[in-house]
Amino acid sequence: MIFLRLIATNLSRHRIRSLISMAGIAFSVAAMLTVVTVLEGAVGMFSGILSNDSQIIVFERNVSDLFFSSVPEAAAQAIASWPMVEHADPVLFGIVSSAGQPIITCFGVTASDARIAKAAWTAGKRSDFGQHADDVALGQRAAEFMAAKVGDRVPIGHGSFHVIGIVKTTNGFEDGGVFMPLDAAQKFFHKEGASSVITVKLWDKSQAAAFKNMVKAKYPNLIGLEDEEFNHSYSQFRILKATAWAVGACGLLLGGLGVANTMIMSVFTRIREIAILRVNGFSRTQVGGLIFGESALVSLLGAALGLTMGSGFLLVLKETPALHGYIDASLRPAVMLVVIALALMTGIAGALYPAVYAMRIRAVEALRFE
């Protein structure tokens, strides 16, 4: 109780200083939370595209980016006929830009693909897909930003396409994307006879290992990975996640320097008080606890403030029309815990030198002069 009183008293003695160091932690926590949540959300969405009604993804071995992967159509057909396979769908990814919309993801898919066959069609007829080479279905958000209705012609990249349907999905990339018949997409992106990946669903998931071995044996330059395996090993995901955490960590480092500065001031201006505690029986450990407690409190309050700010910021991003569907603002408890723990660790690290200094104060000497 006195411990808390001593900490609170000291924080309130220098309100502005305390608030500034709290704000430092808060901003870095907010930044970390936002960046990590947005990027992990994006990664989650992207892997959601791949795992849509499938368990295994087959792509070209040793490519760094799925957009560069090339899988022969013959392989897709052969794999679809393997006995353990329920369905195998070739998907070709492409990116184009159109007026006012720098990035539109294109999916070259077959009519039987779950993205077409099982999606909710809000306009147009599912059965029309794949009838003509210049027919496309639009994700709902893509339809919104292109201001397109069924029957319209829309310019996409260097071509012009006829909208035959609008598809509603919960995935941000798909919702802002364009679905083309596979062969049309192959022509459009100059990848005749190839797809980027094959997404595969097995009758029985326990045959995954056997399936992967068979891919390896029959197509040495292809690789099959289960969805979770893919999410862990795909280097683009790893780079994105690592970047997110690194950006956050840099922020926290700055916040930690703020705390360190505050705590150094806090100790230097309180040498007499610490000496009084010492001559009244406080041990070095108790004095250290006081300093660490103070910085931990600052960090935790800062972290709480930062989580609030970060959540607010994510909500704003989520509601921003241009980003609609791309932001997955759901806060993951694990991320929140890690962020709080990192903030706490930063605070404690920042208090290391001040605490050691405080513990070394020689009480009688400090009290010799008024």
């Binding site: 006195i2 411990f3 009183r5 008293t9 009084i276 505690l277 009244n280 009290l367």
Partner: protein, 234 residues
Amino acid sequence: MRTMEQESGSGRVVLCAEGVWKSYDDGAVTVLKGVDMEVSAGQTVALCGPSGCGKSTLLHLFGGLDEADRGRIVVNGAEVNRHGDLLRLLRREVGFVFQLHNLIPDLTLEENCLIPTVAAGTPRAMARARLGELAERTGLSHRLGHRIQKLSGGERQRTALCRALMNRPRILLADEPTGSLDEQTSEVVLELLLDLAAGEGVTLLMATHDRGLAARCDRMVEMHDGRIHEPAYA
């Protein structure tokens, strides 16, 4: 000296210094040059001597706030400098009153007094009861919730006295406890100090350069040239 103690009927030595040396600034200033001294249980002893002669230094050694260079310091039968448990000494055996009250100005009287009990891990209820008792006897009961900044010099020193006695030490070390007070207030605080010491059966060693105050104690010793001299009693 022996006979004096035996006459006063106490006997057991609670503070003892034997050939104690202490210097500062890496030996540049030698303050204590072989101090020999004993204080028996229940005695009130005045440690006299001019300013700068080393009274505070000796009290600090007895209180475990500092360590001697040479010699033995024994408090309540346990040797201090080699035994080493200075904290226990400070928390349980001795109470300290300084010339400057050394209270934390932003905290209340009550909070200041509770500090030694927090350090020692005394249960809260017990600490509060003890504070109630001491505040009553020092006339501070109505001031418990006040910040130190709001208290007068005399009240501050009485607070310091309460704080020193919170953990029920058997020995009270007072370093010029009235040194920064005016004459009238000094008298009140000294009276209180002696009363409390007698009431609680506490052994008191008080440093002072004021012979008038020293005369109020059972016994008076002189510090001179780094050693203790026992003047002849009148």
